[in-house]
């Protein structure tokens, strides 16, 4: 293990971490701006030009607010909850390939923190851990609303994880690999997986919304029923970490959806542009981020379009619709692939 490798990886990790945080911060502004746009008003416009400094003000405010730990709360778990939430949100992006390899001074630098051969399973594992943050925080608060939010969050995310896992299996049958880098390489040009797995994408996308607790699946924190849900008792930066982790999750799940189904950093005619490899890598990364932003916009668009589900509707959709649908998708994919392999 040479020093250059460690420095290179640390630099990449910190770069990605900063980019993730900035995107999460500006997602909060974008959310309010999109809401304003959808509802025919301006949204925040006081802090700086077009309200561009709003996230910085909000972030600063979080630091200077009083930190309250309720007398009845379990103190250690109360602090552990948001910490787990932010850590799991931040490390889930480790296996996403952000672009092609860069060559800097004769050294090949992959734009991916860790190219491990179980890529997708890693993402799933970390996402599944994320529910502990919500669960612990909600239970430790010793508040009925928090507890309800936590229990809802846990049962919702485990219910949709099954359908998510099944929809991924159909995709793995097409890609034949778990490594995200290889999955992206296979989708060179315009051979995106969305063309072969449209149903799988639809299921995956729905489950991603549910895993991120976004509208219409925001039952764990619906203001009208549960005050703030699992973070009712939270204040100061601990509340900030929960909100951050939510926006980071939205960013990462957009990135995963783009990687799996929309070609990652590939775009049509990428190799007929005649640019140098480094330039192409950077261009690919820009395209990748544009696709991610399109998905983040989609998340926000849905928020102002659909009403929230009732709890039994949520469970029925997860168990009785998505699971049978994703199994049907596996069967369909299997049969078509085998027929193709045998007869053509």
């Amino acid at each position: 293990m040479e020093l250059a490798f460690i420095i290179e990886k640390f630099a990449l990790v910190i770069l990605i971490f900063v980019v993730t945080l900035v995107i999460a911060m500006y997602s909060t502004l974008a959310e309010r701006k999109v809401a304003g746009f959808m509802q025919d008003r301006y949204g925040p416009d006081r802090a700086g030009p077009f309200g561009m400094l709003q996230p910085l003000c909000d972030g600063g405010k979080f630091f200077f607010k009083e930190e309250i730990i309720p007398a009845g709360a379990h103190k250690a778990l109360f602090i552990l909850g948001p910490t787990i939430a932010i850590i799991t949100a931040c490390i889930s992006s480790a296996v996403i390939p952000w672009g092609r390899d860069l060559t800097i001074a004769g050294r090949v630098v992959p734009l991916q923190v860790a190219d491990i051969n179980v890529g997708i399973l890693y993402v799933f594992g970390v996402v599944a851990l994320g529910v502990y943050g919500i669960m612990l925080g909600g239970w430790a608060s010793n508040n009925k609303f928090s507890l309800m939010g936590a229990v809802r969050a846990a049962s919702q995310s485990i219910s949709y994880e099954i359908a998510m896992g099944l929809s991924i299996i159909a995709m793995l049958m097409v890609t034949q690999t778990l490594s995200l880098r290889e999955i992206v390489e296979q989708q060179a040009g315009f051979n995106w997986n969305i063309w072969v797995q449209p149903l799988g994408f639809l299921i995956f996308c729905t489950c991603a919304f549910a895993e991120c607790n976004r509208v219409p699946f925001d039952l764990p924190e619906c203001e009208t029923e549960l005050i703030g849900g699992y973070h009712t008792e939270y204040s100061s930066m601990k509340l900030g970490l929960y909100m951050f982790s939510e926006y980071i999750n939205m960013f990462v799940s957009s990135a995963v959806m783009v990687t799996l189904y929309f070609g990652g950093y590939n775009f049509p005619f990428i190799d007929s542009l005649g640019l140098s490899p480094n330039l192409l890598a950077i261009l690919g990364m820009v395209i990748f981020f544009l696709k991610i932003f399109a998905f983040i916009f989609f998340f926000m668009w849905i928020r102002w379009t659909l009403p929230r589900f009732r709890y039994d509707q949520l469970m029925n959709l997860g168990w009785k619709m998505l699971i049978p649908l994703s199994i049907a998708n596996i069967v369909l994919t299997g049969v078509i692939t085998i027929v193709k392999d045998t007869f053509f």
Binding site: I16, N142, I162, G165, M173, L241, V331, G334
Partner: protein, 126 residues
């Protein structure tokens, strides 16, 4: 580093540890900083649980609907069965038709259990 080397070595997992260190440092650091610089004016009302301003009755650590527990148990069952499918899905083209049929039998058994669960009304919420 070639592609063959890039697979299956623990060194590949090391950068994840770096990311864990950075993320953990951020999470713990911000919590400590806000603890140090924020105002600290604790009053009894402020430290009580918030239930929309109504006086708090009892403790929140009380039993809740058994349905949530059912969902958790069913999740464990189905998720393990889903995990079994991953290695098959990655290699399924090499197994060909017989592998597909075997997996269909497995999935039919899974579906049978699923139908039983639904018929038992384990997932009804009213």
């Amino acid at each position: 580093m070639t592609q063959a080397e890039a697979v299956n070595t623990s060194a590949n997992y090391l950068p994840i540890l770096f990311q864990l260190i950075v993320a953990g440092g951020f999470g713990v650091g911000t919590i400590i900083i806000t603890h140090l610089i924020g105002p600290k004016v604790k009053t009894e009302n402020k430290l009580g649980s918030f239930e929309s301003g109504i006086e708090v009755i009892g403790n929140a650590r009380q039993p809740f609907s058994i349905k949530y527990f059912m969902v958790a148990i069913l999740f464990v069952l189905f998720d393990i069965e889903v995990i079994f499918m991953y290695p098959w899905a990655v290699n399924f083209r090499q197994f060909g038709l017989s592998g597909l049929l075997e997996m269909f039998i497995f999935m039919a058994l899974l579906l049978l259990g699923f139908i039983y669960v639904i018929k038992k009304r384990a997932l009804e919420w009213d």
